[in-house]
């Protein structure tokens, strides 16, 4: 069965589309709800994800912001991911000022609102990386990894489709076998009912029967009970 994509999957796929690949995923770490570390082979970025529950707590929001800022020392870029419903609780100008990127997400997808400020001119580096992918083995690996991620996603979709088809095929097969089973017995029941009917006519003529028995469809239905 295909599993439902998690919030991490949704955010990760946005950055994978930009040429990044996932290095690690940390669900429910000490300070934040979950954290993604991605790389494009040249730079590493960290994404701290605020869950909907955490957005109800001001202290959790503040704590996550501080933790995200702290990560700037460790990674080339940092991004804060916030649920779409709670995007208003974040002042975008403050994030721009401190170079923190912003992604908003919901179950339908994720959107990059503010790109993170890279410590070493991330954008240029990314461009350089893209230009030089064929020249450097690291870039090659990065590209391959991102390609693998894309193919994996396609495979998952195919797998889900296959599951669905197999399920439908099983239902159809069981229906056919049920029909095949009942067909001979239907023929048998018809024969029995004919016998019963012929006996009824020998027992008594239709006119002699009480009114509630005459032309009663139940006689036919019940005489097929077996």
């Amino acid at each position: 069965m295909r599993r439902r994509p998690t919030i991490e999957d949704i955010i990760s796929s946005l950055l994978i589309d930009e040429g990044f690949y996932e290095i690690s995923r940390n669900n429910g770490s000490m300070e934040v709800d979950s954290q993604l570390i991605l790389s494009d082979g040249k730079v590493e970025i960290a994404v701290n994800i605020l869950s909907e529950d955490s957005c109800n707590s001001r202290s959790m929001v503040h704590e996550t912001l501080i933790e995200t800022l702290k990560l700037q020392n460790k990674y080339d870029g940092v991004i804060l991911a916030v649920p779409r419903r709670y995007s208003k609780i974040i002042d975008e100008s403050v994030l721009v000022k401190y170079g923190v990127g912003l992604i908003i997400y919901d179950m339908m997808g994720a959107e990059e609102i503010i790109p993170p400020r890279l410590n070493n001119n991330r954008k240029e580096k990314v461009e350089d990386t893209r230009k030089n992918t064929q020249n450097t083995p690291i870039n090659e690996i990065a590209l391959l990894r991102s390609e693998v991620s894309r193919i994996t996603r396609i495979l998952e979709e195919m797998e889900a489709r296959l599951d669905r088809l197999e399920r439908e095929q099983r239902i159809l097969a069981s229906r056919i076998s049920e029909l095949e089973k009942t067909k001979p017995s239907i023929i048998g029941e018809e024969r029995i009912s004919q016998v019963v009917k012929s006996k009824a006519s020998t027992y008594s003529s239709e006119e002699a029967l009480p009114s509630y028995l005459r032309d009663n469809p139940w006689v036919d239905i019940l005489s097929k009970r077996a």
């Binding site: 029995i192 009824a200 009480p210 509630y212 028995l213 469809p217 139940w218 239905i221 019940l222 009970r225």
Partner: protein
């Protein structure tokens, strides 16, 4: 044993709460009817000595001869069923049931040496629990000790018998008796999961009639249950729409006014200016939740309550159309339109007429159900009031016994077939 023997020896028994109906296929259109009750005799009593009765219980048509004017008659006279159910541990009730069954079978058992027992089709309320089936099968077996009375037996639910007697294979049977109402969708066989029961029947309308009599100055008569029932039957009206009917009655008091006389007495009843209350009686059967009845409840009239009897919940205040909808909606969606298109209303509680001059204001039960269901958004409804409801269950039993092959064995998981005693 052959199919032919079975068909000529089918015996139907309808275990109704108040009446016990029985008879073989050869009896024709109408079964024998006796009250579902038994009297535990005192062997020293004069009547017992005179009649030479050695039995502990007397049942059937001769029972009234044994009733004595004693204070303990209430204890001795046992009505075994309540709402169609005999309590599991009520030994006296089961004794009465056994004696009635014996009485019915012995009355018709031929002395013919070729007689090898009846094929008995018994009918119980659809809400009857499994232990009732088990006990009844045991009784049939026990009756064979002296003489083979029951060759094979089966038990079917009463609504199924009604559907069979009315020759309709897919329908909803609404069976409303004295104490309760059962709504049972049927598609070739009862859809047991969809059955719904109401703790409301003709007796509820009797209670309201009694209150109306009190309010109109006939408080002394309101205590007589049988009289109240007769008054209900003669003055009760079923309104198309209650508000419109009351409005009509207030504008045309002469059209609604009616004086009734109680036969054999000097009693006359006339509701006078309160004749509009005639419409309340019918409405109460179908929709006790109407706000107009609140004033009666506030003054102490008992509200039909939800009760659990056996394994079944009987709802008190659910209106009749809602009960039908709830039952039908438990069935498959594909089946639902077919069920709404054949609704059989069975039982004395659906016996409402439209007097001349009140056409369009007072309606019959089938029309009322159609209107109520339509108001709830159900279209293409066809409701019919059962003909001769007293006998339809027994007739259904006879058809069932006649048609089901003699070699179709009883299966508990399906609750159908013949349990063979031979």
């Amino acid at each position: 044993m052959s199919e032919e023997y079975k068909r000529s020896h089918v015996f139907g028994i309808d275990y109704g709460t108040s009446d016990f109906k029985y008879g073989p296929i050869t009896i024709g259109e109408v079964p024998e009817v006796t009250e579902n009750r038994g009297y535990f005799t005192e062997k020293n009593s004069i009547m017992s000595r005179v009649m030479g009765v050695s039995r502990d219980i007397v049942v059937g048509k001769e029972l009234p001869l044994f009733l004595e004017s004693r204070e303990d008659v209430a204890e001795r006279l046992v009505y075994p069923m309540r709402n169609g159910i005999v309590e599991r541990n009520d030994a006296k009730a089961w004794q009465v049931t056994k004696e009635l069954t014996r009485y019915a079978l012995e009355n018709f058992a031929p002395s013919d040496p070729d007689f090898r027992g009846f094929y008995v089709v018994a009918s119980l309320a659809v809400v009857a629990p499994r232990y009732m089936y088990e006990q009844l099968f045991d009784i049939f077996g026990e009756l064979n000790t002296e003489r083979m009375l029951v060759r094979a037996a089966t038990i079917i639910p009463q609504p199924l018998a009604v559907a069979i007697a009315h020759k309709i294979p897919t329908c909803v049977v609404v069976e409303s008796g004295h104490g309760n109402t059962q709504v049972c969708p049927i598609s070739m066989y009862p859809i047991r999961n969809a059955v719904l029961a109401l703790n409301r029947g003709g007796s509820a309308a009797n209670i309201l009639t009694s209150e109306i009599l009190k309010d109109t100055g006939y408080g002394d008569l309101a205590k007589e249950e049988k009289l109240v029932r007769r008054v209900k039957e003669q003055i009760g009206l079923l309104p198309r729409r209650l508000e419109e009917a009351i409005d009509f009655a207030r504008r045309n008091p002469d059209k609604v006014k009616r004086e009734i006389r109680i036969e054999g007495t000097r009693i006359k009843i006339d509701l006078g200016d309160e004749s509009w209350t005639r419409f309340l009686i019918g409405e109460y059967v179908f929709n006790p939740g109407h706000e107009i009845f609140q004033s009666y409840f506030k003054r102490g009239m008992p509200r039909p309550s939800d009760v659990k009897i056996g394994d079944t919940y009987f709802y008190g205040m659910t209106d009749m159309a809602e009960a039908i909808i709830q039952a039908v909606e438990k069935c498959s969606i594909e089946l639902q339109p077919h069920l709404y298109s054949k609704i059989i209303l069975s039982g004395g509680n659906f016996n409402w007429n439209t007097p001349r001059g009140l056409e369009g204001v007072a309606v019959t039960s089938d029309e009322k159900i159609r209107i109520m269901l339509k108001e709830k958004g159900i279209e293409n409804i066809q409701a019919t009031v059962a003909r001769e409801p007293t006998y339809s269950v027994w007739r259904g039993c006879i058809v069932y016994g006649y048609a089901v092959p003699y070699d179709f064995k009883w299966r508990w998981e399906r609750m159908e077939g013949w349990l063979n005693y031979a």
